[in-house]
């Protein structure tokens, strides 16, 4: 176990790099028993690490039962078509096939959805995207199941796809993806749902709130910059494809072992579709091979359960990579128009944004993405007059939903590009312009929400600017082509290679927003095992790789002064933990574990008092737990937990909620809709081969404020991992969709950064505690994904002089070849 050094600078840097310590400029409030080894602030090893390096960790795709069947899914070959009939007879007759099911076999509700129930379990009436599930098969071998799919005959009447999100948003003659007369649930009245619009959210402040036109406000500015931007469709590209195992139970229910981000929201969607009460649909988290938002929506959950209940046998479904590309939601592609006006001395006067987010065929989280894109669409800047119009629309493109930083990632690329254009117009350094307009604690966002927590943006920008630069490329001498764009392809020996530096900063809401009743539940049990105190922590929170399983143990150690902590597997036998998304689990499930620990501690102190160990002469004695003992501030050790508890256990369950948030006003977009704000600043250094359009990222350094570091090593992993995903969006990652069809559903054609694409990353972590959050912490997973993308693109612009208004940046954008 590592000895905790919570307030000592902790090196977080690449190997053999100069150390770049985590700074702690402000002291966080000390925790009562933070001296427990492996507690909050230290870097204990993750408890699942051993199993993950020995191959014994059971991912959802590794589940196995001897009598299990294999499920497979027939998907629509058309993005938009009417289903005239489905004939399953050929498939049913195949030897080895145990069930072939269509929408007619869905026992309960025919539709499900994370926020809005518009997605058929199995298509009926129409298919609305290519790859939509139409029928499912269970067979004794996966190949038999897939062959049976070929024998299902579906009679389609092909319809024109609705591929253009801008047309879907604004053209009243655009065909409807979800036609009138469909029996859909009512939409939230504040979402302005109409036509193909899932949600429209305006934001108006200053003169715009009083009805001023853009022309009127424009007159207030000395300098105006406008830009039209595009963001491509990014895939989460977790490495472990969707998979799960459903086991029918004797009580008529089903047990589902599944890789997901939120067990209870799956349960609440699955049970109605199966026509079962929730308690008969029990979920256990199977090993999750990455998530990044893609597992927030369901994939095969209901299908596996239906097949298991129909056949009476366990059913396993595993998607392959191509199916995975069609089997989960992606990051919303976006078309965005921005305008910024400033005074000659670099003060922002106004800004407008029109944001169209392509939600694809089903709503998924589109409404929430619009809520983020509208409220944070102009970023962390003080802007007197603001106007944002954000639209999320239905198309027949692949459904889009959650991916790390949703809504904020798309906007951040644009407002940061705008700030760079403005800086160039004004002849200011990009960092200087940002500092002049930076928000800080006490600022109001465009939605009128006061930032009531530290937001040291100006300081962060200065720190990013002052970080050491990577060495210049040698002008003469031997050339190492590996360090150049193109690498060992040997496309350049340095000729035509130019260096650029760029900055990016992003603002992300953390935890759930807009009035959502966001909570997590934890059960903590303290007992004596083998003569030693031991703690069990039980939550339903999904460990998706981020290391929450470690954090839960650290909090229990810190709060209960007990080193031996076991984190139980996550399942639905305990209350909901909410989703492992929105950077919220350290805050929410961490908060719940802490609350449950405090309740356990209070019970222990009652036992101490009941045992007469607190004398009448010490009625207000301050008690604590440390080293497995109850200690008094004045008198030292009072009793060991082993002696106090004996054979009895103390168990408490607590729900933890963050403070309430508000819906945005449907007309003005005003409201304190967010719980917490997170920020990261990136500085990118790139070398660009301007002849071939190839980019080598030389450095990608970050400054992030996390309020309080719970686990330095895991935190670095989050920042570096998030930065790399932002790098991917900047330069290479795009699901290419044409005619509503994905053209590159494989890892050969969808490019993910390798280590050779990712430079050493220097990280500076600040700890300005958020007074509202447990331990003062701030969610950390998403902010780096916002800012790394615009920093890299800005660096490429600096190297090339190209406008680069589209991500990912393509080689032809750099060399200036027009594309239709």
């Amino acid at each position: 176990m590592t000895t905790p050094t919570p307030r000592t600078p902790v090196p977080v840097h690449s190997p053999r790099e100069a150390p770049s310590p985590v700074h702690s400029p402000r002291e966080a409030p000390p925790s009562p028993a933070s001296s427990t080894p492996g507690g909050v602030g230290s870097s204990p090893r993750r408890p699942d690490g051993t199993l993950k390096v020995t191959g014994e960790f059971a991912y959802s795709s590794d589940m196995w039962m001897d009598d299990m069947l294999w499920g497979a899914t027939l998907r629509s070959p058309h993005p938009h078509a009417r289903i005239r009939g489905i004939d399953v007879t050929g498939a049913v007759r195949m030897p080895g096939v145990h069930a072939v099911l269509t929408h007619e076999d869905v026992p309960g509700e025919k539709r499900y959805g994370l926020e809005y129930r518009d997605q058929p379990v199995l298509a009926f009436g129409k298919v609305r995207y290519r790859g939509e599930p139409v029928a499912i098969v269970a067979a004794d071998h996966p190949e038999t199941a897939r062959r049976a799919l070929d024998r299902v005959r579906v009679d389609y009447e092909v319809l024109e796809p609705v591929s253009d999100p801008v047309r879907a948003a604004f053209d009243p003659d655009c065909p409807l993806v979800h036609e009138a007369g469909e029996d859909l649930p009512p939409a939230h009245p504040a979402h302005h749902r109409s036509g193909n619009r899932v949600r429209y959210q305006p934001v108006r402040t200053g003169a715009f709130a009083d009805g001023a036109t853009a022309a009127e406000v424009r007159a207030l500015a000395d300098v105006v910059v406008t830009g039209e931007y595009q963001v491509g469709m990014q895939d989460q590209a977790f490495l472990g494809p969707e998979s799960g195992l459903a086991v029918p139970a004797e009580d008529g229910g089903v047990d589902l072992h599944i890789a997901t981000q939120w067990l209870h929201v799956d349960q609440s969607q699955i049970a109605p579709c199966l026509g079962l009460p929730p308690e008969k649909v029990r979920l256990t988290l199977a090993g999750v091979g990455g998530a990044f938002g893609a597992r927030e929506d369901m994939s095969m959950q209901v299908h596996a359960c239906m097949l298991a209940l129909r056949t009476g046998r366990p059913v396993k479904i595993v998607y392959n990579r191509e199916e995975s590309f069609h089997g989960h939601v992606h990051r919303h592609p976006a078309r965005l128009r921005y305008e910024h006006g400033a005074t000659r001395d670099g003060r922002l006067v106004y800004a407008t944004a029109e944001i169209v987010l392509d939600g694809g065929a089903y709503a998924s989280t589109t409404a929430a993405v619009v809520g983020v894109a509208s409220s944070l669409g102009l970023g962390p800047y003080e802007i007197p007059h603001a106007r944002v119009d954000a639209y999320g629309v239905y198309t027949t493109n692949p459904p889009c939903g959650a991916m790390r930083g949703f809504g904020a990632v798309q906007a951040c690329f644009c407002y940061e590009s705008q700030l760079d254009r403005l800086a160039a117009e004004l002849g200011l350094h990009p960092v200087e312009l940002r500092i002049r307009n930076a928000m800080s604690e006490g600022s109001r966002t465009a939605t009128g929400q006061r930032v009531d927590m530290p937001l040291p943006m100006a300081d962060m920008l200065r720190r990013a600017r002052e970080m050491p630069m990577p060495p210049e490329r040698a002008a003469a001498g031997p050339v190492d082509v590996r360090a150049l764009p193109g690498g060992v392809a040997n496309t350049s020996r340095g000729e035509g290679v130019r260096r650029g530096v760029g900055y990016g900063v992003g603002l992300k809401n953390l935890c759930f927003s807009e009035g959502f009743d966001d909570y997590s539940t934890a059960r903590v049990r303290l007992e004596v095992v083998g003569g030693e105190p031991a703690v069990q922590v039980h939550t339903a929170a999904a460990e998706v790789g981020q290391g929450l399983v470690t954090i839960k143990g650290q909090i229990a150690r810190t709060e209960l002064g007990v080193e031996r902590v076991t984190v139980l597997p996550s399942d639905t036998r305990v209350g909901s933990a909410g989703s492992s998304s929105a950077s919220r689990q350290s805050y929410m499930t961490g908060g719940a574990v802490r609350a449950a620990c405090l309740a356990v501690r209070a019970r222990v102190f009652e036992l101490v008092r009941a045992a007469g160990l607190v004398g009448d002469d010490h009625p207000d004695e301050l008690l604590g737990l440390a080293g497995g003992k109850v200690v008094s501030g004045a008198r030292g050790v009072l009793v060991s937990l082993a002696d106090l508890l004996g054979a009895s256990a103390v168990e408490e369950t607590r729900e933890f909620r963050h403070r309430a948030t508000e819906m945005l006003d449907p007309t003005t977009g005003q409201g304190a809709s967010h719980t917490q704000f997170g920020m990261c600043v990136h500085r990118a250094v790139v070398d660009v081969d301007v002849d071939l359009g190839l980019v080598k990222v030389v450095a990608l350094d970050a400054v992030q404020d996390v309020g309080r570091v719970l686990h330095p090593q895991q935190l670095a992993g989050q920042i570096q991992g998030g930065s790399a995903q932002g790098l991917g969006l900047a330069l290479m990652e795009e699901i290419q969709v044409s005619g509503s069809v994905i053209r590159n559903p494989s890892f050969t054609d969808y490019l993910i950064p390798t280590i050779l694409d990712v430079p050493p990353m220097r990280i500076e972590v600040l700890e300005h505690p958020d007074p509202h959050a447990p331990y003062g912490l701030r969610g950390a997973g998403e902010p780096p994904t916002l800012s790394s993308t615009p920093a890299i693109v800005a660096a490429v612009r600096a190297a090339t002089g190209r406008p680069l208004s589209r991500i990912p940046v393509r080689p032809e954008d750099i060399v200036g070849i027009e594309r239709d």
């Binding site: 191959g55 992993g717 390798t754």
Partner: protein, 178 residues
């Protein structure tokens, strides 16, 4: 199904196994489904991600790009066979755990196989060499920095315990943990 099958004998982690497979059965599927060795992961099914990498006579190979029948007569080492016969984890396993070189861990067995083979070739790599060594494997979680650290740390650990036998060199022949 009427497809012709073959009785094959595979030597995995020092233990002989038999399986009846069609000629086109991939080594990755055979390991996972026929032999139950699910520590070998399948991420992309066509040789890009490297999650399925195992060692064949010590060399790293992508088990999704090889037929099970072609692996006969070779010594296969999977992640389940990396530890020493007494269960002591391989230095590479220790280093990845210690340096937080993994998050979700799905890519990890492939990295472990590649790095273990690399360090036998190059026991004292530079950081640059460590980066290149894992250039063919994808990790979606970590941003790779802690993986580089893990490679360098594994080299240190291996030097500290020179007695530790490398895997895949027949070391697991006696009682590998199949």
């Amino acid at each position: 199904m009427t497809e012709q099958t073959h009785e094959i004998r595979l030597h995995v982690n020092g233990v002989p196994h038999t399986a009846t497979v069609p000629a086109r059965r991939l080594l990755s599927d055979c390991l996972r489904h026929d032999l139950g060795l699910t520590g070998t992961h399948v991420g992309c099914e066509h040789g890009v991600c490297g999650a399925c990498t195992v060692r064949l006579d010590g060399l790293p190979v992508r088990s999704c790009l090889m037929f099970a029948v072609s692996a006969q007569g070779h010594e296969i080492t999977t992640v389940e066979g990396m530890a020493a016969p007494d269960g002591t984890p391989h230095p590479v396993q220790r280093a990845f755990r210690e340096c937080h070189g993994l998050q979700c861990g799905f890519c990890t067995p492939g990295f472990l196989a590649v790095v273990a083979a690399f360090l036998e070739e190059n026991p004292d790599p530079t950081e640059e060499q460590a980066r290149e060594a894992v250039g063919g494997n994808l990790c979606r979680c970590t941003g790779y920095q802690n993986i580089v650290r893990s490679v360098l740390r594994a080299a240190e650990l291996a030097r500290e315990h020179p007695g530790a036998e490398p895997p895949g060199a027949g070391a697991a022949a006696e009682g590998g943990r199949a």
